[in-house]
Symmetry: C2
């Protein structure tokens, strides 16, 4: 996750899962992480889910064109449909352009 | 969380907690959320922590000046010192300018 830098596009996906405990969700989520990683312009991903069902996934892209291409990706679009039909109670998608970043390690 | 819109500044704080199980962390984290909410230009916050200690907190600010003022806030600076001394294994701070957002509810 060392390549996030000024000009990258951050796609922030804030969501809450439904009570639907379908194992299909986890396989699909993992497949989406892998598929995103294969796209041109993919920079990195941060993803956290709490036990109460709240989740935040942020994918980072080299530029706006790469982020838009990921939105239009056919597998991604198909999974989004399932997400709305079954897996998510709500979501909030926020697209932002990175200005600067700073890392600290113990 | 309805006021996140183009031009807002998102301060993305990605982190991993230490094994230090100090209850002081939770009180400090809650105090910081409340203190942030009292600052001029505060827009909202999204925060999720997984059981493995990974966390993402995103605070949103009306503009760059408000985000910088929060960084310089004295209480916030003091808590950051404690965070580095005790609570965090690592963190990655990413500042980004919001371009657009979209919400969906079941």
């Amino acid at each position: 996750m060392e390549n996030i830098s000024a000009g990258c596009v951050a796609v922030i996906f804030v969501n809450r899962r439904t009570a639907d405990d379908d194992a299909g969700y986890h396989a699909a989520a993992q497949a989406m992480v892998e598929e995103a990683g294969r796209q041109p312009g993919f920079v990195g991903i941060h993803s956290v889910r709490a036990t109460d069902g709240e989740g935040i996934t942020i994918s980072y892209w080299a530029d706006e064109a790469a982020a838009l291409a990921w939105r239009k990706n056919a597998e991604h679009a198909a999974i989004r449909e399932q997400g709305r039909a079954r897996w998510y109670e709500y979501y909030h998608l926020i697209v932002a352009e990175v200005r600067r970043d700073y890392q600290w390690h113990r």
